[in-house]
Subunit: 241 residues, 2 copies
């Protein structure tokens, strides 16, 4: 099967990309250079954008995309979390970034996925803590935590929004210290809403992390889902034999 013209143009452009941040030729020049129509050139450029290689916006020349990832240390993080303050913020600060936090607390009816993780009936009223984290005034991740009723019931502490970033500490403070965690990681393309909220460039996947925390008795005390722009973060774990 022969290569189509737009594939050929895409390949030629891809191979001629310069340094990150450098400008691409304009569409008009690419039309001249490769003898293809603007439609074809634009199809090729759209493919490169979907691969996450270039950026584009109306009026400005396209540029080679540049990415920097912040490391998020998962193993350290939660253990520290059981004790002191916002370990995520500390991780970012240690890498020279300025972290920020938006938190909203609400009561919802447990959706299927949450109910399954927390081993409670679907529709049970539970507390959700939805967090939007920023680094250098750039939105970074949407981190939503859910707690089962037996943990939050009668605990005023859980309704205090000034207690930033310390859900682990919150659990420890209320006698439900986490003893074990089960994490999953996968990736998918963002919905339009997620893309807008995280100000994600086209061609950027979403890295999705879930964590279920269990207490010493093995009961799930917390379910957390974190959605991150994959070009801005790298998750890490340290393991021992």
């Amino acid at each position: 099967m022969p290569e189509t013209l737009q594939e050929r143009v895409a390949r030629l452009i891809r191979d001629s990309l310069g340094e990150p941040g450098s400008a691409l030729p304009s569409e008009a020049e690419l039309v001249d250079r490769y003898g293809a129509s603007r439609n074809t050139v634009r199809a090729a450029l759209a493919a490169l954008e979907a691969e996450g290689l270039i950026t584009s916006s109306q009026g400005r020349t396209r540029r080679v995309r540049q990415i920097h990832r912040w490391e998020w240390k998962m193993a350290e993080w939660e253990r520290a979390h059981n004790n002191d303050g916002d370990a995520w913020a500390n991780t970012i600060k240690a890498q020279g970034g300025i972290p920020k936090n938006d938190l909203s607390i609400l009561t919802i009816q447990a959706p299927a996925e949450v109910a399954k993780a927390l081993q409670i009936p679907e529709g049970t009223p539970i507390q959700a803590r939805n967090r939007l984290r920023w680094v250098n005034d750039e939105p970074h991740q949407l981190s939503d935590s859910y707690f089962p009723p037996f943990v939050t019931d009668g605990n005023e502490l859980f309704w205090n929004p000034s207690d930033l970033g310390v859900q682990g500490g919150l659990l420890a403070a209320t006698g439900h210290k986490q003893a074990r965690w089960h994490d999953t990681l996968t990736a998918r393309m963002p919905s339009t809403e997620e893309s807008q909220r995280l100000m994600m460039a086209p061609g950027t996947p979403l890295l999705v992390h879930t964590r279920v925390g269990y207490d010493a008795e093995g009961r799930p005390v917390r379910y957390m889902v974190t959605r991150m722009a994959a070009d801005r973060v790298e998750v890490s774990y340290d393991l021992d034999a």
Copy 2:
């Protein structure tokens, strides 16, 4: 800023998507239904495809995409790996899948990324073990391992390709048992080559896992990079406080 026509059409189609696997209306019908040109309808459909919501191929009607992810247990995996056979294959079998393995062994000059991880000079000749793993005759992941010279030198075992899936066991057998690991996870869009090798559908990101294994003396004895089709796998970790 008003919604463009193709955005509007994309949104309307997105909201009318049926069950996974169900067929979409043809382009011609969408043109009629929304009063937009074929170009515009196709732009909307391309956006949905880039979001990973639908599939398309020439001649066949588009369908709502359906995904199933296999779990890959990272924490268990390597610890078992230090001892017995192919733990990855066992994990897949336990979930009802049929695993398969392609292995090729070669000597390369350490590229920058590998050299940094193994703490050796760039360009050092090292052994690379490139693995392609399948599940149910579907390509699943590209897993490349690299070993520093002091581990492989004079060890015939490392050149035996029949010893599938036991690099951890290989290290243990040759006196370089791994004591600690450092993992990182991130995601990006695949290159065309990766997309072809893994037979990935458009709109599917690549989940990239790296692991550096250290021996008891803290020397890196192995660097592994695994690239997975994100719609076919979910990585998991179990952690203790």
